[in-house]
Symmetry: C2
Subunit: 291 residues, 2 copies
């Protein structure tokens, strides 16, 4: 089509060949093949003169539509698709949505004005591909070979309890003392009931006990606030409460483990610009927070 249109434009095979930087034989062959496919003459031509036929004109009209669309697709490929546009579908647990995304989002959206974000909040681990998500945020490692886990940062962990609880229990001087306390256990966390503490001996773990286990940080925090016991929770998740005096940090700095924040996205050769942009933005936001 391109060759045909160029011949029509340049009014000749040789000029068209020069314009397209191909051989004249190629041009000739293309036109001849087209004509024999149509069963129609597209150009009346002698060696010295060329005129497009009526059939040729009709084909040219259709050709130019197609070539125009192709050109738009090329433009789409080279510019639009390389920029973060469209809708970014993210899923994240409630506490991450509250603590990270909702704070990082305004800046992100004002940077990329062509972008819309759709956020589905929930702890349920959905099938990213099946439900059309571009990105999931999760804390801790996840084993899923079809997903890429991109580490965004580490959250420090803190031991917390309510002042009320602590006032009514024995004072905690060292890690081993935790064994005598009601420890809220998160079975999903990699350490479960073996809490990683610096002053706990050679292995660095204290095996704790408690009458509650829960797989949700928010619930755990609620329980602590109601003076139920001691919990290990991400720092950002309890810092506000510590500052306001609602919670007290126990054995500050003794926790010897961080928990990773991961961005998960489908394994693909070409990471979409919008996903890349969001991950970069979030990483930058988090590193700014940690100062």
């Amino acid at each position: 089509m391109q060759v045909f249109a160029e011949v029509a434009k340049q009014q000749g095979f040789a000029p068209a060949a020069r314009a397209l930087e191909i051989s004249t034989s190629s041009v000739s062959r293309h036109v001849i093949d087209l004509e024999s496919w149509f069963g129609v003459t597209l150009f009346q031509r002698t060696t010295r003169h060329l005129a497009i036929t009526e059939d040729g004109s009709r084909y040219l009209t259709e050709c130019q539509k197609v070539l125009g669309d192709i050109e738009r697709i090329r433009h789409l490929a080279y510019t639009e698709l390389q920029q973060p546009t469209g809708t970014l579908r993210i899923t994240a647990p409630v506490f991450l949505a509250k603590a990270c995304i909702s704070r990082a989002l305004p800046d992100f959206l004002s940077t990329f004005t062509d972008l819309t974000v759709e956020m589905i909040v929930g702890d349920r681990l959905v099938d990213l591909i099946d439900e059309g998500f571009d990105l999931a945020l999760r804390v801790g490692n996840l084993a899923d070979s079809s997903l890429v886990a991109h580490k965004l940062g580490d959250f420090r962990l803190k031991l917390v309890a309510s002042p009320n609880y602590l006032a009514n229990q024995e004072t905690i001087h060292r890690a081993a003392d935790l064994r005598d306390h009601n420890c809220i256990i998160d079975k999903v966390a990699s350490f479960a009931n073996n809490w990683p503490l610096r002053g706990a001996g050679k292995r660095g773990y204290v095996s704790v006990n408690g009458n509650i286990s829960v797989n949700n940080g928010e619930i755990a925090r609620d329980l602590v606030l109601q003076h139920t016991g001691i919990a290990v929770l991400p720092a950002f998740f309890v810092d506000d409460h510590i500052n306001s005096g609602q919670l007290t940090e126990v054995l500050p700095g003794e926790i010897d483990m961080t928990v990773g924040l991961f961005a998960l996205y489908p394994r693909t050769k070409h990471l979409a610009p919008k996903v890349r942009a969001f991950i970069d933005h979030l990483a930058e936001y988090l590193s700014a927070q940690s100062h």
Copy 2:
């Protein structure tokens, strides 16, 4: 594009391959190549599930425009271009336009209602290709290798003179008597002043003389009507006058030559349907006339 669109439609590589009757590896390769050209993922896929990405949807939209246009072009090729449509540009001398074309045309146009005819009348032999003509009608042979000469029929020739002229001259009994008459000579005609007559001897030619030569039949007829002499003219061109008594045929049936009516069109591998239709129609009209 076709493969991509089919994958999107069938929601899978394997179903698309079956629908297109190609191998799954081909389908896979096409999509992969597209994606690496775009630098973008078009489908999020596992071995069991497939979902089009937002970028894929945008490309699909553009694809479908192109595929729709291609489909229209295919339709154009298979139906419209195979039928006599558009404009048929004909050139012919005045007398042929009067005698043949204008009479054959109404029927032709009522048969092919999608067709428009553009008739440029004139004796000048134009460059068909240069001036965009589809067809030229000429009497007698023309040497032009770039044109195809399609014989439509033979015109019988007649010797004619006005009754007035004949009354004032010696009676003509046989071919040789013509030597004593004023014969209007057409130097363009192949026989020039050697008129082909049956009773003229072994060679069949009579060398005639006259004080007028003219290369236009209509003028020749006008001269004859003005009692100037005897002329050789196509039968259809003088029959009306003979019937009305304005002209008289001399030595009826003695002329031993016909003159061919030719349709000339550019040498091309694919004769346009409209040209073919017109030639066929004209041939049919002429054969009906000769009965």
